[in-house]
């Protein structure tokens, strides 16, 4: 279970995000807010991508004191994923498969569900469209035994079929007891979720 204690994120001297306390039970959470409100900052701090003050724990493992155990339980998909352009998609899948202790069956299911079979093995990332990059990023986020899945604008640039597949996967992981936090500034969320508004770096439940 996720625990946030006195989380603060600064960009230079500017306080970009402040979350005094949050312990959500397993479920789907829709982080909603305007541009620049702090949605991505919130997800990135939970994913270990940016420095922060305070503490973040997942199943008792602190990101600060036990980063290895914490990060094994937490996966992240960025709004605009960026990867070294000479890599192949399968290179990245290989990294995440071994690091996040996923299974080959999981990977094959994701590749078929996101319809990546045509480009994942031989095409370098430099030739990917934004939709292909998004599919790869979502695949990496869904690999492994993660208990906290952080998705930043996951439905942007996806076609209808893969959107439906993604929604199914989110629902399946929810049933398996994971916490899924989705940042999106759409008007309607396609799944049953708890809404969390972000305004000026503060969460409002």
């Amino acid at each position: 279970m996720l625990e946030i204690r006195n989380l603060k994120v600064y960009y230079s001297s500017h306080l970009a995000l402040e979350v005094p306390s949050w312990e959500p039970p397993a479920g789907i959470y829709w982080i909603h807010g305007k541009n620049g409100s702090g949605k991505s900052t919130f997800l990135k701090s939970l994913a270990g991508l940016i420095p922060y003050r305070g503490d973040i724990l997942m199943r008792g493992f602190s990101l600060r004191k036990n980063p290895e155990k914490y990060l094994r339980l937490v996966n992240y998909s960025a709004t605009e994923p960026v990867y070294p352009n000479f890599l192949l998609g399968r290179d990245l899948i290989h990294f995440f498969l071994s690091a996040k202790e996923g299974t080959q069956e999981q990977v094959e299911m994701m590749i078929d569900g996101f319809q990546m079979r045509d480009f994942i093995n031989h095409q370098p990332i430099s030739q990917y469209s934004s939709g292909m990059l998004k599919k790869l990023s979502l695949t990496l986020a869904l690999i492994g035994q993660s208990q906290l899945i952080l998705l930043d604008e996951p439905f942007v640039t996806l076609d209808l079929d893969t959107t439906a597949f993604l929604q199914d996967q989110i629902w399946v992981r929810r049933q398996q007891g994971a916490t899924i936090v989705v940042a999106a500034h759409t008007d309607r969320f396609p799944l049953e979720a708890t809404i969390v508004n972000v305004e000026s770096g503060k969460l409002k439940f």
Partner: protein, 371 residues
């Protein structure tokens, strides 16, 4: 027409590569300070050490060859820049206007433009000629001048023909590999794909520096070995900076992978060992497997780790990095001059770890963008 071309291509070239040129200039100035120190250490030879580089360019075939090699790379960079700039959308009208004029006028314009771009090479060659003539005669002087002129003609011919017959850039093609790429080797593969010139140039300069100062390896003088490792690690700064740019911009995803912070700190060690393998091979060939080689290798890797942490703590500011680099170099030099070379290695490792733990999430990059 000539003034427009000089403005678009020559000034544009210098503007684009000013950081690299300043780095190179900074390294040469550091080298001059170093040779002054060596001149102080080896009494009575101060003048010789001060003018060592230009003298060697005129008299030592390896240094002359290195100068010619650097000139070739520089010229290749210039040619590539001109062709790409001419193919850019904003210069389309210039291109079509230019191709229509007489060949003689086209050539005169290119000769003048390329001369401005090649000016640093011509100036250094003339400086070497002046110094070398005074100290050691003109052994390879005329050959070097002739070579530069041949390169000049080569660039002009290449550029004129390429623009006359169209440009084609290699398209990225699909790749097949035998197996997945190890995460730690991604920076090395990045250099091969995108930084070939920097990689080759750095290795060439490093090997020549090793050749010049190979004596300490044979004498197993640990003090001089650590100094040599410090110099060589500083010469790799461009590659380390490119690693930082790659990792902060394209490999931020790796921060989400479940590794301990110390594991992230030592993760590039295998990559560094591969990177410095030419130097290790040369040192082994020159001096055999000696205890000194272990000290040299460990010092080299530790200094590379330190420089990586220094770049992380400075962020994406090349000029500030070059200032911090000079500070690190001269501070290290002081330690070595006072026979505290082993303490320097230990201290460098400690500082590298501390800085890495504080800045490994590229916070300085964000702060520099925000400020």
């Amino acid at each position: 027409m000539r003034s427009i071309f000089i403005k678009v291509f020559a000034k544009g070239f210098f503007k684009k590569y000013i950081k690299v040129l300043l780095f190179g200039f900074g390294i040469i100035i550091s080298y001059c300070f170093f040779t002054q120190t060596a001149g102080a250490l080896k009494t009575g030879t101060s003048d010789y050490w001060s003018m060592l580089l230009p003298i060697k360019v005129l008299t030592d075939p390896i240094l002359a060859g290195l100068f010619c090699f650097v000139a070739l790379l520089y010229s290749g960079l210039a040619a590539r820049y001109i062709v790409r700039e001419m193919a850019a959308e904003r210069n389309l009208f210039l291109r079509y206007s230019f191709i229509g004029i007489r060949k003689t006028l086209r050539w005169k314009t290119w000769v003048a433009t390329v001369f401005i771009i090649q000016l640093p090479l011509y100036l250094y060659a003339l400086y070497s000629l002046a110094v070398g003539y005074h100290h050691a005669g003109l052994r390879y002087g005329l050959f070097i001048l002739t070579y530069l002129i041949a390169l000049h003609v080569g660039i002009v011919t290449y550029v004129d023909r390429t623009l006359a017959y169209g440009t084609s850039f290699r398209n990225t093609k699909s790749t097949t590999r035998l197996g997945p790429l190890p995460l730690g080797l991604i920076p090395l593969v990045n250099h091969v794909h995108h930084n070939k010139i920097s990689l080759i140039l750095t290795k060439a300069v490093v090997l020549v520096a090793l050749h010049l100062f190979a004596d300490p390896l044979q004498k197993q003088d640990f003090q001089l070995l650590v100094l040599l490792a410090l110099i060589l690690s500083c010469l790799n700064i461009i590659l380390l900076y490119r690693d930082f740019v790659l990792q902060s911009q394209q490999m931020a995803f790796a921060l989400n992978l479940p590794y301990k912070t110390f594991a992230r700190f030592i993760e590039p060690v295998p990559y560094y060992l591969i990177l410095i393998s030419p130097e290790i091979i040369y040192a082994t060939a020159a001096a055999g497997i000696l205890p000194g080689l272990g000290v040299f290798t460990i010092s080299y890797v530790v200094f590379l780790l330190l420089l990586r942490s220094v770049i992380l703590s400075t962020g994406n500011l090349p000029l500030r990095i070059s200032k911090v680099l000079l500070f690190c170099f001269f501070t290290g030099l002081l330690f070595i001059l006072y026979a505290a070379h082993l303490m320097l290695v230990g201290l460098s490792l400690a500082v590298a770890i501390l800085l890495f733990y504080r800045f490994f999430q590229y916070s300085k990059l964000r702060d520099n963008h925000d400020s």
